[in-house]
């Protein structure tokens, strides 16, 4: 039996497929960046909403059989599967057993898989005792219709929404930050209600016909204190009325105190919540730009390219700069891009991220570059280099493109002096302001121009100047007109935007 357990555990432990499927399920449940999590969440929310709707409808109308079946079997089935999967991915039993095995081999000790198994199961049991897991379990039950009171358990399904809706989660999180204050308040409230209730019970039980038990008196105290005051029970003696006045005043004080605690909890976290929202929004995009530092360079960059930029976010260490960026109408958050936790918030796995390091400090820029590259090699980094002497350091850090403002300007001035006409051309092409621009046509595998010769494409009639092909990293300048276009070529052409658009519309189709 022991041997069987061990071999099973070892096999599971070494099976790549098992590990992969478990990891993907775990990711689906727990990683908010997983692109499929959205669909899982929506499905569960749909099931919850429909089953609650059926519960309400059922009160007055007969429900068709298929709907009943859906509620009893399908929802039950899905929720059970979900519960079991969550329990499954919580920890690895096989890990406990194999570890115990290795330990017993290491120390000359008797191999005891049951102890290890017990520990693993204990952990699972601990998970089952968490509020979230209990709610999940209770949400499965309403399928059992024999007991009518079990129907109310459908409402536990509503509690399940907590897990699947972000804003409620955040609300709970914010409130739980003020646990101490709120608990103190609650304790105080219970104390006063009990005291006032007992006093009224003692004073008026025999006189007041509405008070029959201690429960009635406590109920009255709470209703009065909360300033609701139904009026079904009211004090009749002068002593009772005096107590009423006291607890009404303390009630008002307590309500305003509770309100202020909750409000302050939110205002403390409001900025953070807002920023998290911005990050979540940007993470939904397939590709986006992170601009680090809102200095003069970034300002100019945004001023010029305001309309062409869709998905971007500005990070700046200085609160002042962030405020300024927001005033200028850009998405900015107050974060330090050189910190691991900051960049790790972004959807590194599923999005194409380009980071622009534009701070005026080289040290800062290198640090951000290293930080980004340490999180994922896939992140593209464009870094600003102020001191030309330390270019090699940026290259070591792994920056993909370097921007050297001083060198760019130097080249421009140099060109302006040595070749004034060319300066105009280069400047016009570089700024893209004028009627001509150099653009790239990226030929994908199934692009309809694959296999066509340059002559056939006849760039001239489309008012485009064909400059050359970049093929496998090599640039072929003005190739022979009989040269045929291959997949993954990058064609370099010059011309007006409308000519480019026209060309693209002609050949955008597939074979």
């Amino acid at each position: 039996m022991k041997q069987l357990l061990l071999s099973l555990a070892l096999r599971l432990r070494t099976s790549k497929r098992y590990k992969k499927s478990k990891d993907s399920v775990r990711d689906l449940f727990h990683n908010p960046k997983n692109p499929y999590k959205k669909y899982l969440d929506l499905t569960i929310i749909f099931l919850i909403v429909t089953s609650v709707a059926i519960l309400i409808y059922e009160v007055k109308h007969p429900v068709p059989q298929w709907l009943d079946n859906y509620d009893i079997y399908f929802v039950f089935f899905v929720f059970s599967i979900e519960y079991i999967l969550r329990l499954w991915v919580h920890n690895d039993l096989s890990e406990f057993i194999t570890e115990e095995f290795h330990e017993s081999q290491f120390l000359p000790r008797k191999f005891d898989p049951w102890k290890a198994l017990k520990e693993g199961l204990k952990e699972k049991l601990q998970y089952m005792m968490t509020p979230a897991a209990i709610i999940d379990l209770l949400a499965i039950f309403p399928a059992y219709r024999a007991l009518r009171v079990l129907r109310i358990f459908v409402l536990f399904r509503v509690l399940k929404l907590l897990r699947y809706t972000k804003s409620i989660n955040q609300f709970v999180e914010v409130i739980s930050n003020k646990k101490f204050e709120l608990l103190t308040l609650l304790f105080f409230l219970i104390f006063i209600v009990m005291i006032a209730g007992i006093v009224l019970y003692v004073l008026e039980e025999s006189i007041n016909p509405n008070i029959e038990s201690l429960f009635d008196a406590v109920y009255w105290a709470l209703i009065t204190m909360s300033t609701v005051g139904y009026g079904d029970i009211a004090p009749v003696t002068a002593e009772g009325k005096t107590i009423s006045m006291f607890i009404i005043i303390s009630g008002i004080a307590m309500i305003s105190f509770a309100t202020s605690v909750i409000v302050s909890a939110f205002s403390e976290r409001l900025v953070e919540l807002k920023e998290n929202r911005i990050i979540e929004q940007i993470n939904k995009n397939k590709s986006f730009l992170i601009v680090c530092g809102y200095g003069q360079m970034a300002k100019m960059f945004f001023k010029q390219n305001k309309d062409q930029l869709d998905n971007y976010i500005i990070l700046d260490k200085s609160e002042e700069m962030v405020t300024e960026a927001r005033k200028d109408g850009y998405n900015a958050i107050h974060e330090d891009a050189s910190r691991y936790s900051t960049l790790n918030k972004f959807n590194v796995e599923h999005s194409k991220i380009t980071i622009l390091c534009l701070t005026s400090s080289d040290v800062e820029n290198i640090y951000i570059t290293l930080n980004a590259k340490s999180i994922s090699r896939k992140i593209k980094v464009i870094a600003r280099v102020n001191d030309i002497n330390i270019i090699s350091k940026f290259e070591y850090a792994g920056a993909d493109h370097l921007l050297m403002p001083n060198r760019v300007v130097n080249t421009m001035v140099h060109t302006a002096i040595t070749q004034p006409t060319m300066y105009k051309a280069v400047h016009a092409i570089l700024t893209g302001k004028s009627i001509a621009r150099i653009d790239e046509i990226h030929v994908h595998e199934f692009h309809s121009i694959v296999g066509k010769s340059i002559q056939e494409l006849d760039f001239k009639s489309k008012k485009l100047l064909f400059m050359g092909i970049e093929r496998e990293g090599e640039f072929i300048f003005s190739p022979d007109p009989s040269e045929k276009i291959k997949s993954y070529d990058i064609l370099l052409v010059m011309g007006r935007q409308i000519s480019l658009d026209y060309f693209n519309s002609l050949y955008s189709g597939h074979h």
Partner: protein, 235 residues
């Protein structure tokens, strides 16, 4: 050549590399500095004519004879001094071509107002470059190579000489590919010295004195420049 002399104000972070590049391209450069250490640096780097002077004084500027230089380049590290210098130069020598670098975001306008003929805005060109790197990485890299790499593919401007076989040709009919170069655009003296891209869709007749801008490998460009001086083309 007399035409290739430059008066360079400033030998700081912009001036130093610029002076070096210009000398390499065969320009004679005279450096003017008002900062002692930069002045010494210029002397050490071989600019024997370097002048150490207070550029805020008009008589100092006059003594430099700026009107004898083709271009005055203002690249002082001190932004305020640079604007002041541009203003002084412009008021003293209205005819001179003044080229200035704007090192902060609002300086371009001030320099233009002060009378600079051309202003290169550090932030503007850099910001454009960022955009180009993001949207057109290959083209940007190549374009950079065109400018920096002196042996590879390059742009070149050439003036059409009298008696060239090009005279009378229409731009739409031109195909320079047999020569291994491409025509990018031209400057038409009749149309007010404006640069016209070949792709702008304006069909234009070439005449003597027009400047054409071509792109191609350097050796082909040189050969082509010789070729257009001829009456008849061999190709």
């Amino acid at each position: 050549m007399v035409l290739k002399n430059i008066l360079l104000f400033g030998y700081g972070k912009h001036g130093k590399p610029l002076a070096k590049g210009l000398v390499e391209d065969g320009f004679s450069v005279v450096v003017v500095e008002s900062d002692k250490s930069f002045y010494k640096q210029a002397k050490e780097d071989g600019f024997k004519d370097a002048v150490y002077a207070d550029v805020t004084k008009d008589e100092v500027l006059k003594a430099l004879n700026p009107q004898e230089y083709v271009k005055l380049v203002c690249v002082m590290d001190d932004e305020h001094l640079n604007v002041f210098l541009t203003l002084s130069l412009h008021s003293l020598f209205k005819e001179s071509y003044i080229l200035a670098i704007a090192d902060s975001i609002h300086a371009t306008k001030k320099l233009k107002m002060a009378g600079a003929t051309k202003v290169v805005d550090l932030y503007e060109v850099s910001a454009n470059k960022i955009y180009n790197i993001i949207k057109r990485p290959v083209a940007t890299k190549l374009l950079e190579k065109f400018i920096v790499d002196k042996d590879g593919i390059n742009f070149q401007e050439m003036i059409i000489p009298k008696n060239s076989f090009l005279l009378g040709l229409m731009t739409d009919d031109i195909d320079f590919s047999p020569y291994g170069v491409l025509l990018v655009g031209m400057i038409d003296e009749n149309l007010g010295h404006a640069f016209i891209f070949i792709t702008a869709g304006i069909n234009h007749e070439l005449s003597a004195g027009d400047t054409i801008v071509c792109i191609g490998p350097n050796d082909k460009l040189q050969a082509f420049e010789e070729e257009i001086k001829k009456k008849e083309s061999k190709v």
